[in-house]
Amino acid sequence: QNKVKIKVEGMTCNSCVESIEKMMSSVEGVKTIKVSLENKEAVIDFDPQQTDPTLLKDGIDNMGFDASLEN
């Protein structure tokens, strides 16, 4: 499965959304990313050869947002 949904806390507006999308779309292995302010989540399409859900979650977390994987 190359799609992951990540819970993201701490976003307050569209500029938060944009900065996460911009930053994470430049990460290796990320094909597409869609961040929703309303649902407090990021949906990422990724290449499993290059990255994994934990790395992607950590990437958002390191930007200063509270990110966690949903099961």
């Binding site: 307050t12 507006c13 938060c16 900065s19 996460i20 911009k22 930053m23 930007m63 200063g64």
Partner: protein, 72 residues
């Protein structure tokens, strides 16, 4: 090593931005104290780390950031 207070500008526009800055600095080891001024788009960091290291940390938020200088 002696600590210094460094001043940075960070392109923060909302509380999400300042929250992110708070979080990355709070997690950074070697940061003694910091102040985030959202309306002024400024961040003051007291640390024994170099200004470059702090700048790298601030850049993780994805916001445009610049080093201004040391404060006493």
């Amino acid at each position: 090593m002696a600590t210094q207070t460094h001043e940075f500008t960070v392109e923060m526009t909302c509380e999400g931005c300042s929250g992110a800055v708070n979080r990355v600095l709070g997690k950074k080891e070697g940061v003694e104290k910091f102040d985030v001024d959202l309306p002024g788009k400024k961040v003051f960091v007291t640390t024994s780390l170099t200004s470059d290291e702090i700048l790298e940390t601030l850049k993780k938020t994805g916001k445009a950031t610049n080093y201004v200088g040391t404060k006493n």
